[in-house]
Symmetry: C2
Subunit: 201 residues, 2 copies
């Protein structure tokens, strides 16, 4: 059985839980409390040299890291990953956009404000990252004004990856009310079969 | 014919040029001077809403962005992208590692020091990013101590993606002499058929 090493409040981990549920794949969830240093132990670093959750254990000793590589792996052969070469390239484009321009800004600010509760100590860095985070939201808004989903006008792992931290962006004090197309897409995403919330156990 | 919108000193653009050369694909190179604001014009933003090079124009009006999505697209069906599901997942893992843990630190420091010449003004940010960059190099060194290449013990787009900014890391004042396995892998990479340097025209 697949094992998921998982920090419950992480959007990166939530991507995997959401897709596994939508694929109806049974797995074992192993909680990792990153705030207690559990992702920095020698045992954890042997699985994930970068010391980050999520980690997917495919078989004993066979580990996959990087949330978007994991959803790419799991979605292979399913409707969540297009087979058409151009559509698949666009999925990849949005997955890299998410990890480069979106997550380091939107997820990080949420982590500092709502998980570490360090809004005051990190005020300057937060302001800088919020500006970059809003730029990423603008790129999404522009796309979603013309499309229902990110690729091929149907729900895919590109939507799963981008939904994970977008729908909780307000926990990083991002004001989503300025982005009606994003809000509409969030609604469509939550109405997908077998959708689960980030806090589902 | 494919068109590549390209900033010559960018490692992200170099990934594409290197792979296109190794695939023996003829293309048109369109220089974009990011220092002169050429990646922020309305025309450029219509192709690449994030305002970044490289952009691959596949056919008129059909644009692909994100360097690692572009090499994934181009490598499809070639020896540079494994077809085995587990090997391909590992390629993806290293591509996301490169964009999340490596490029934002190693490439950014090189850009500040060697391209913008702002070593003094950005001293504090450079120190912070160098620490993270060295952590990424450590992860690579650990892997390359046991393997000749990143995935399946043969050269793939995972090597191309990681080579792009690693081999010029010294332009960001990273000391690569501490990483013998990385230096050996850089040597093996330069000996691949149809290898070109970052400054090849």
């Amino acid at each position: 059985m697949l094992k998921l090493y998982d920090y419950s409040r992480s959007g990166n981990c939530y991507k995997i839980r959401l897709l596994l549920n939508q694929l109806e794949i049974v797995y074992q969830r192993i909680p990792i409390d990153i705030l207690q240093g559990e992702s920095r132990t020698p045992e954890f670093l042997a699985m994930s040299p970068v010391g980050k959750t999520p980690v997917l254990e495919i078989s004993p000793g066979q580990y996959l890291t990087e949330s978007n590589a994991i959803i790419y792996y799991l979605a292979g052969g399913s409707d969540f990953l297009p087979t058409d070469r151009w559509e698949r390239a666009q999925v990849m484009q949005w997955l890299f956009f998410e990890q480069y321009s979106h997550e380091p800004n939107i997820a990080t600010v949420r982590f500092w404000i709502s998980i570490l509760q360090q809004a005051e100590q990190r005020r300057e860095a937060i302001a800088q990252k919020q500006q970059l985070g809003y730029a990423a939201l603008e790129v999404m808004e522009q796309h979603l004004t013309k499309h229902d989903y990110f690729v091929g006008d149907r729900y895919s792992i590109a939507d799963i990856a981008l939904y994970a931290y977008t729908h909780v962006a307000e926990e990083g004090n991002f004001d989503l009310s300025k982005f009606p197309a994003i809000l509409g897409w969030c609604n469509r995403t939550t109405r997908q079969p077998k959708h689960i919330t980030i806090s589902a156990t």
